[in-house]
Amino acid sequence: MSSSKKIRVLVAKPGLDGHDRGAKIVARALRDAGMEVIYTGLRQTPEMIVEAAISEDVNVIGMSILSGAHNALFPKVMELLKAEGVDNILVIGGGIIPQDDVPALKAAGIAEVFGPGTPLAEIVGYIESNVKL
């Protein structure tokens, strides 16, 4: 794959949570870093997210939840991806996510979890070095 191919990212808000300040900021930062970004808007079900990821042919899914529903919704997205036979999408998460919950999310296939105060450059750098193009 040519190195000039742009990384495609789906920034998604699963669940009913309306806090999208972080998701929008990250979406813009990724775009400013040269990636192609699709933002889903609020209230996406795991099914909607997986469908969008496949039809948009993205390399990365970034999900943000501040409502505490991450333990239910993040693994659900991973399950659905698996069921669709998708294993080349890098899936990362962010929001208000207690440290104690992170190991289980990682075990479910979430590659990394970024908490409040994470510098944008760290997220950009992480995607650039871990994406499978």
Binding site: L16, D20, R28, Y39, S67, G68, A69, A72, I96, L120
Partner: protein, 557 residues
């Protein structure tokens, strides 16, 4: 008021008018106020003889137009602000316990946080509610939950604020119905329902229907309250979430007051007399980090609302001119790094709110960048207010920063900058058009992004985050966990509830509500009937989803 004589005259009018009247009804907390070292503290300080000319009519006196210095003639010398901690989690039972704990700790008002399914109008057993039940607030499906929530809390003894918007009519009806069961008539109920749908599109995200049907329900609630719940605030026009979403202080007051004017206009357009409902409108602002800018912001907002209501909306009742507001400290300023530092941030933000003349206050807990607050964390937050009230002395005189060159200049500048948005929005065709175009949303996202770039570039310091960091910091404070089982219990409870009620009656009332919602009659009586028969939040909202459809967000990025 520009001359020495003029000022003295107005001062006398104030002293013998509003102040004397207020004192006769509400004596001050103490006969005499003094500093820690025994120096007497006057009710109000005004300029020295020399500076009299500077003291213009735009400052006025507390409790008098344009209310820059406060909405009450004696402010906190009469009574402290209401200490009101926003709380709710898990089910009605757990939240009822937290309410009782807070009241025992000296809190003076209740404030309910609902979970997201309740806020968006899905019952706990709806598949879309999965994972969200009882997480950011308490799950309320039917009247049975609401009764449990207020078990042992007499509604004539507390004032209650409810953060609920799209389903506001339903939760208000449930509160009324709980009152009925306790023997408290609705004209005795005191409290506030947020009911501010416009800021949901702008910043908070729990909209359901589009702006026009939503405004119709809002107007119905305002009308119903004006007639039946004279002590209730039917609307809390909120800048808080606009600020949390990343706006500047200027955008916070501009967009909030613009929304406020849109509600007033909607009320007037539906045939209500402005003075019949405007005195009960209330506001809700954020107290952020920049202490003096925040103080100026509250003062500017008060002055703007007074002018807008008197001059633009033609309100004649002085109570319609008063901007009364609740404040919450800035959740977005809290850091998950070195969380104890948040206690200090909250204390300064609370100080700004009080110096700015707030009517009630929520202080955030130190652990809120990590989880919902634990009991211990909430106690410290409440104690912060109690220390400010009882120990700091700042409540002993009114608007103590009034007259500061910086504060007055900043107040004027915030006001002028906020008014610029008024012209811009008017030229776009008004608030609803601006929302549909995503104008407010984009303005806020732009400010939020700029702020974050500033932090990332190190131009803005956030202590413990981009400077003064502890390397490999380990989290040392306890974190509240909502039990996974909660969701299962609540799902069982709502299913069981639907079996136990008279379903024929429920269907009949929901049908009746459907008809009324398609017509022009006030929806509140029909909602109340359905609620009394234990129709659920999800069922009532489903009727409205059918009648009104759901809103589509404009693209903002």
């Amino acid at each position: 008021m520009g001359s020495e004589k003029g000022l003295r005259k107005t001062f006398k009018e104030w002293d013998e008018g509003p102040v004397a009247k207020t004192l006769a009804k509400f004596p001050e907390r103490k006969e005499q106020f003094e500093t820690l070292s025994g120096i007497p503290v006057d009710r109000l300080y005004s300029p020295s003889e020399k500076a009299l000319k500077e003291y213009g009519p735009e400052l006025g006196f507390p409790g008098m137009f344009p209310f820059t210095r406060g909405v009450q003639p004696t402010m906190y010398r009469g009574r402290f602000w209401t200490m009101r901690q926003y709380s709710g989690f898990a089910t009605a039972r757990e939240t009822n316990e937290r309410f009782k704990f807070l009241l025992n700790q000296g809190q003076t008002g209740l404030s309910i946080a609902f979970d997201l399914p309740t806020q968006i109008g899905y019952d706990s057993d709806n598949p879309l509610a999965q994972g969200e039940v009882g997480k950011v607030g308490v799950a309320i499906d039917s009247l049975a939950d609401m009764e449990l929530l207020f078990d042992g809390i007499p509604l004539d003894k507390v004032s209650t604020s409810m953060t609920i918007n799209a389903p506001a009519a339903i939760l208000l009806a449930m509160y009324i119905a709980v009152g009925e069961k306790q023997g408290v008539p609705m004209n005795k109920l005191r409290g506030t329902i947020q009911n501010d749908i416009l800021k949901e599109y702008v910043a908070r995200g729990t909209w359901v229907f589009g702006p026009n049907p939503s405004l119709r329900i809002t107007t119905d609630i305002m009308e119903y309250c004006a007639k039946n719940l004279p002590l209730w605030n039917p609307l809390s026009i909120s800048g808080y979430h606009i600020r949390e979403a990343g706006s500047t202080a200027v955008q916070e007051i501009a967009f909030t007051l613009l929304n406020g004017m849109a509600y007033v206009q909607a009320g007037v357009d539906s045939g209500l007399d402005v003075d019949s409902f405007a005195p009960r409108l209330s506001f809700f602002f954020n107290a952020h980090n920049d202490i003096l800018e925040e103080v100026a912001k509250f003062r500017a907002a008060r002055r703007m609302w007074a002018h807008l209501m008197r001059e633009k909306m033609g309100a004649k009742d002085p109570r319609s001119w008063k901007l009364r507001f609740h404040t919450q400290t800035a959740g977005c300023s809290l850091t998950s790094q070195q969380p104890m530092n948040n206690v200090v941030r909250v204390a300064y933000q609370a100080l700004a709110a009080i110096l700015g003349g707030t009517q009630s206050l929520h202080t955030n807990s130190m652990d809120e960048a990590l989880c919902l607050p634990t009991e211990d964390a909430v106690r410290v937050a409440l104690r912060t207010q109690q220390i400010l009230a009882h120990e700091s002395g700042i409540a002993n005189t009114i608007d103590p920063l009034g007259g500061s060159y910086y504060i007055e200049s900043l107040t004027n500048q915030l006001e002028a900058a906020a008014y610029k948005y008024f012209d811009q929005v008017e030229s776009m065709g008004g608030v609803v058009r601006a929302i549909e175009k995503g104008f407010f949303q984009r303005e806020i996202a732009e400010s939020a992004y700029k702020y974050q770039l500033g932090v990332d570039a190190g131009q803005r310091t956030v202590v413990g985050v981009n400077d003064f960091i502890i390397e490999d910091e380990e989290l040392k404070i306890p974190v509240l966990k909502v039990d996974k089982e909660i969701e299962c219990h609540q799902v069982e409870r709502v299913i069981l509830g639907r079996r136990k009620r008279d379903n024929k009656k429920v269907l009949e009332y929901l049908d009746d509500l459907r008809k009324v919602s398609k017509g022009t009659e006030n929806v509140m009586p029909s909602v109340l009937k359905a609620v009394r028969a234990h129709a659920t939040v999800g069922e009532i909202m489903h009727v409205w989803r059918e009648v009104y459809g759901e809103w589509n967000q404009p693209e903002v990025l």
